[in-house]
């Protein structure tokens, strides 16, 4: 059997990047959630918020840690597996990632220590500041990396002369056509992910009859955030769809499952197809009549463009893009339904007692992660066969590394990451099973910024409380 280096390099990148994105998705969402919770704690002085903060902080810390170490891999993998891509795209995406490191990674890393271990040393106000800096860091990081990835989807602002890329206008590179829509799409996805995680764990406690006040507060917060966010996400998703249809039609053609240049009118919305890429047709298809026209063209009888509009050698593989899109979209519809139901239950004051709904929340705990991963699969597999859309093909981007080396490192990555994810799941489930710890009595410190500069005072919490009373 001969091994194809390009398949191996792509498998390795796909595996490592898919694994990585799970953790930033959680930590972007949880960082902002924690900032809100700590803000609420300082404002209301309600120690329940501190309890919620501490509980989710330990899960955040683990997801952040895995996100960091799997992210470092990616910053070198452009060269390890895709040297030609690095040579050509380096002048455009390199500076963006360099700025990401400078403006985001250091910010997160610098304040993470204070966020995790510094509450008693710097006092609550400066601690809230540290939490906010970590949260802002995650947003800046997402912003740069989405800019770099969006530039690969909709490249702009550059010129290429005999294999060398020159940036003509940085504004066009950074604010490329798809970035303004894809960034809020990803951030909302991360926030939805955190909301469903928080609500799911709370729902589990309610079903078990444990940690009632913690559970009620988190189910209430989680479903409230999710309700607002999914409404926003449906709207943003539509904008992303429109942008990609304009700039990368082949991706959306593959995502909807039509082959013929123009579908019949009215168009069906397919939920299940067996695509036959060689003969450019579907062997089998099931869908809902009219819905395709209504959703995709916002009319009763509109036609939808199929994949044969794109020349065969420039088509992505329909099956992957179609099903990734269906998973993401199906989960979004489910989230939307949950949001509507939660509003109704809240109105009827049954949000904490409707067991069937709580069970659904438990099952939806990982929904945001799965939907986000599926969304990235639409974005990345739908861009194929290009790595930089219209500029560089993926097969032409590969490094001169022998297949055996690629295969052995792929196996190494799978084995090591399997250890990471198992440990993460075991420890997270253990934290959930143990439940939130009782909030310590000295939690409500004075909040004075001055204490930041006199940690010895804070080493003795009793003195802080005494000072406040005095």
């Amino acid at each position: 059997m001969t091994l194809d280096p390009s398949i191996l390099a792509r498998s390795q990148f796909a595996f490592t990047v898919s694994f990585h994105i799970i953790f930033p998705t959680m930590s972007i969402g949880l960082a902002s959630f924690l900032a809100v919770i700590e803000g609420l704690w300082l404002k209301t002085k309600d120690s329940l918020y501190l309890q919620i903060y501490k509980f989710w902080l330990s899960i955040f810390a683990m997801s952040f840690g895995i996100g960091v170490v799997t992210g470092i891999v990616l910053s070198f993998e452009f060269g390890l597996g895709f040297a030609r891509f690095a040579t050509i795209a380096g002048p455009a995406i390199g500076p963006m990632i360099a700025l990401e490191v400078l403006t985001a990674f250091f910010l997160e890393a610098g304040f993470l220590g204070i966020m995790l271990f510094g509450l008693h040393r710097v006092g609550p106000k400066l601690h809230l500041f540290a939490t906010c800096m970590v949260a802002v860091g995650t947003l800046i990081s997402a912003s740069w990396i989405l800019s770099a990835n969006s530039w690969m989807q909709t490249p702009a602002g550059v010129a290429i002369h005999d294999g060398h890329l020159t940036v003509l206008n940085w504004r066009d590179v950074i604010v490329n056509p798809s970035w303004p829509y894809r960034l809020p799409h990803m951030l909302t996805a991360a926030y939805l992910t955190a909301s469903f995680m928080v609500a799911g764990v709370g729902a589990w406690y309610l079903l078990r009859g444990k940690h009632q006040s913690f559970a009620r507060r988190t189910v209430s917060l989680g479903t409230a955030f999710a309700t607002v966010l999914i409404a926003v996400q449906v709207f943003i998703g539509d904008l992303v769809y429109g942008t990609m249809l304009k700039h990368q039609p082949s991706k959306m053609q593959a995502a909807e499952g039509f082959w013929e240049k123009q579908s019949q009118s009215p168009a069906t919305y397919y939920w299940f197809i067996i695509p036959d890429q060689t003969n450019q047709r579907n062997r089998f298809e099931v869908g809902i009549p009219y819905l395709g026209s209504i959703w995709l063209t916002h009319s009763l009888d509109g036609r939808v463009e199929g994949l044969t509009n794109t020349p065969r050698d420039r088509q992505p593989i329909m099956g992957v893009v179609f099903y990734a899109f269906r998973i993401m979209y199906g989960l979004a519809l489910l989230m939307f339904t949950m949001a509507v139901v939660s509003l109704w239950l809240r109105f009827r004051e049954r949000l904490f007692s409707a067991r069937w709904f709580l069970w659904m929340l438990v099952f939806m705990t990982p929904s945001g992660i799965i939907a986000t991963l599926a969304g990235w699969y639409v974005a990345e597999t739908g861009r194929q066969p290009w790595v930089i859309y219209g500029i560089l093909r993926t097969v032409d981007a590969i490094s001169p590394v022998p297949a055996q080396a690629l295969l052995s490192t792929l196996i190494a990555f799978v084995s090591v990451y399997a250890v990471f994810i198992s440990a993460f799941l075991i420890f997270t489930l253990r934290i959930v099973r143990r439940g939130p710890a009782a909030a310590p009595p000295h939690a409500e410190a004075s909040g004075s910024l001055k204490n930041a500069f006199r940690p010895h005072v804070l080493d003795n919490p009793a003195r802080v409380v005494n000072r406040r009373i005095a």
Binding site: V68, L102, F111, R121, T166, F427
Partner: protein, 329 residues
């Protein structure tokens, strides 16, 4: 203004900060392997827990600066050091997650082993890469044209072991500065072993490199005085470290460890300059377009001082000796 030279200076700054800062973190991890007492291991890890993430970030800074400013060098060097780079990344991964995982379980020892072995492997692989650079990288048509197994040769292996002991020196210095008396004693004993080994291996490495690489001989011919001064200085610093390991003030070994690295890196820079892919591609041959370099440099000029300021602030918050029960209590 020579943009490529400026970009290379920023790259060198990031690499230096990485080697020194993550160097003592990795050193503490390496020494963990030789510390039998659980309480002392906890104490050692606690001493670096709040700040390790920022230290490690400098390697990402160096990597992406190389990508942004010297994309051709980036796409030659990473395939050339494919195996050690990936093993290093996996090892750094084990080291990194162990910080979080070891406190979650009663089987803390397992994660301490992962932590220590991760540190050892990462340090050794970084040394292999340094040795691989000094022995030279085969390039044709601006692409890597050698074998990924070229690093399995004496010079990279000597260099790997040297860096391993070098990081142990830095780690022991850090522990003398930040830990309780029993760990300080352990650190002194480690220093007495590691410092002379570093000096010895460094000497062997220099002589070996001089013999196998003609380019190094010619560099030696043109910068003979400077290079011999650096080698002499290296020996003096290592000797002082060994002699004063036990008696000195807590801060001195760490400071001497830093000096050791600064001297070593300067010597290396003198030998390699102006190549960025030794000894076939210079800085200017591998540079990206000026617009890209300008963008990075302007960003770096504005943001790096801020980064350094709040990094110092973070160290300052966690200043002084590591508390017996860790920083969180």
């Amino acid at each position: 203004m020579d943009l490529s030279l400026l970009s290379a200076s920023f790259l060198a700054l990031a690499l230096n900060l990485y080697v020194i800062l993550d160097g003592f973190d990795l050193g503490v991890g390496i020494l963990l392997l030789f510390q039998p007492a659980k309480a002392s291991r906890d104490h050692m890890v606690d001493s670096i827990t709040p700040t390790w993430d920022g230290n490690e970030t400098w390697i990402v800074m160096a990597g992406v600066t190389l990508l942004a400013a010297f994309p051709i060098a980036y796409s030659i060097l990473l395939p050339a050091f494919y195996l050690p780079a990936i093993l290093m990344l996996l090892a750094l991964g084990f080291r990194g997650v162990s910080f979080e995982f070891r406190v979650q379980t009663r089987h803390r020892r397992r994660w301490d082993v992962a932590f220590a072995v991760g540190s050892v492997v990462a340090a050794f692989m970084q040394g292999l890469i340094v040795g691989g650079l000094i022995q030279g990288v085969t390039v044709q048509n601006q692409r890597f044209a050698g074998s990924v197994l070229n690093i399995v040769r004496p010079l990279p292996i000597i260099s790997g072991v040297t860096l391993l002991f070098g990081y142990a020196v830095l780690g022991a210095g850090w522990l003398k500065l930040k830990s309780n008396p029993s760990v300080q004693h352990f650190a002194s004993r480690s220093l007495r072993v590691a410092a002379p080994v570093v000096a010895l291996l460094f000497g062997i490495g220099c002589i070996y490199a001089f013999n196998i690489q003609p380019a190094i001989r010619s560099q030696w011919a043109s910068h003979g005085t400077a290079l011999s001064c650096l080698v002499g200085l290296f020996a003096v610093v290592a000797g002082t470290l060994t002699a004063l390991a036990e008696k000195s003030r807590p801060a001195l070994p760490f400071f001497l460890g830093l000096c050791l690295f600064v001297v070593g890196i300067s010597g290396m820079a003198l030998i390699v300059f102006p190549y960025i892919v030794p000894f076939s591609l210079s800085l200017w041959d591998a540079a990206s377009s000026s617009t890209s370099q300008q963008f990075v440099l302007i960003g770096a000029a504005f943001v790096t001082p801020v980064v350094l300021a709040y990094s110092v602030f973070a160290y300052w918050i966690f200043r002084g000796r590591t508390p017996e029960k860790g920083w969180g209590e």
